[in-house]
């Protein structure tokens, strides 16, 4: 069996996915990006190979994506993360028409066609407001681990209204709410609602069409899923593999290449 791989070098984490000809995920791995982006890409790919008990030669084509896609030195080509998230989301949820991708440093809204092609997109990458960084700032201000944020926020009953836009100012606003005796749960629920409101604005700019699939690392946060669903008034598709969606899309593009290059060769052999 032939394999293809996608490596998604994100600002915070690097993800690698290896798929077989059947388009199923054969192996995957996730590592922290850190300062050495080239090494992170190689490390993620090697870890995925090890996890799938595969040899590098068995992977015929590698596509790099994410902000560090040109640092995937062993990759055969690069595809933007917008195309990859669209492709991955439509693969997982074929009815997807809108994708919201929330990562460590940016949030993207992507509208896709029935075949997974990009119709339009909009992104928030100039300003940290409404991105995963906003959650990171709240987590550090309140001294809570990132993966506990969602569960804590869901215990909130009376969310505070976060009025600041900027992540830097939100950090002091969070502390001022704490100083006013508000519960951490209620503050965090307010923080999630404020990010949901900004993301919803981004989604409306590309046109909101059902079904909506939520991808990226932040999609694993249950409070972010819930507040965004409440804000949009609809259910979101969320996969267990949401943070691998970009890498999966890249792997699907890689497999296209493998199959396309094989077709004429097979025809010639006959």
């Amino acid at each position: 069996m032939a394999y293809a791989a996608g490596v998604d070098v994100g600002s915070t984490q690097t993800k690698a996915v290896i798929i077989g000809e059947d388009r199923r995920i054969a192996a995957r791995a996730l590592v922290e990006t850190g300062a050495n982006v080239v090494r992170a890409a190689q490390h993620a790919f090697d870890s995925a190979l090890a996890a799938g008990d595969l040899r590098e030669e068995e992977v015929e084509y590698v596509v790099g994506t994410g902000y560090g896609r040109y640092k995937v030195t062993f990759g055969n080509t690069q595809v933007t993360e917008i195309s990859c998230h669209g492709r991955g989301a439509v693969h997982m949820f074929p009815e997807t028409r809108t994708v919201v991708d929330m990562g460590g440093q940016d949030t993207k809204a992507i509208r896709v066609s029935a075949t997974g092609e990009i119709v339009d997109f909009c992104m928030n990458d100039k300003c940290a407001a409404g991105t995963g960084r906003f959650l990171g700032a709240a987590a550090s201000a309140l001294d809570i681990a990132l993966d506990e944020l969602g569960a804590t926020a869901l215990r909130g009953e009376r969310p505070v209204k976060i009025t600041t836009t900027c992540t830097v100012f939100a950090e002091s606003e969070v502390l001022s709410w704490l100083g006013k005796g508000k519960k951490i749960e209620d503050i965090l629920l307010g923080v999630h609602q404020s990010i949901a409101a900004r993301s919803a604005g981004l989604l409306r700019r590309v046109g909101l069409d059902e079904q909506v699939t939520f991808t990226g690392g932040v999609a694993r946060n249950p409070a972010m899923v819930q507040t965004l669903e409440e804000r949009l008034g609809l259910r979101l598709n969320v996969s267990e593999e949401s943070h691998f969606m970009g890498a999966l899309g890249a792997a699907l593009f890689a497999l296209d290449h493998v199959l396309a290059s094989r077709a004429p060769a097979a025809a010639a052999a006959r």
Partner: protein, 273 residues
Amino acid sequence: MMTYTAGIDSGSTYTKVVIADVAGNIKGYALEPTGFRLNAVADAALGRALAESGLAREELGYIVATGFGRYQVEFADVQVTDLTAAARGANHFFPGTRTILDVGGQTMKAIRIGAKAKVESFRLNDKCAAGTGAFLEKTARYMGYSTGEIGPLVATSKESVPISGVCAVFAESEVINQLSQGSAPADIMQGAIVSLVGRSVQLMKRVRMEPEFTLVGGILRFERMIDVVRHELASEVNVPPGELVQFTAALGAALLGQRRLQRLHEQELPASA
């Protein structure tokens, strides 16, 4: 005689108090970090300013609050906007002032004023940290320097490293990249100042600035910031002396208090005569 007035500027980062006499002279001033208990901090700062001036609280005829926290200052007699207060204060120091640039910890304002310190046009940014002093503080912190060290650090800069200044959060990766490429922290700091001043000039253009220019606010304590503004505007700029640059709005509030006090006396005089 209750002829003294106090101006309290409850800012996002610091609370500043100035006590003025009837002739507009500064009798005392003090500053406290604002924190979250705005009224208590304003009270403490007023206490310190009074102690410095050797006056008793009973000698204050009028207390005027300004700044974002002005409605939290429960003991103030009246509130005025920070624009009016900054305009009055800048006009006191430099009567020829037509445009004021006020850069604080969490706000940046450009104000165009008329001959009698009347506000004619203003623009402000309090939504995005990249256009405020918080940008410099964050940049310093990413490199391991405190706010107090910004001035001495940047004074040693020889050239400016380009810093985009679009977002104070994303500046972190920019700063780390620059450090790993061997740029000096002082030059990165200078780059952050250049980028902040770029935003200031944009804001000033939007109020259709006219000379004379007067710079006020806590961030103008940094000599380099003043140099860069002077360079970018290609014009001389007025800067209130020493620490007072940070107390301009508080002084303006105290002076507006003097005017109210005078009016009160004028109304009372005929009645008592």
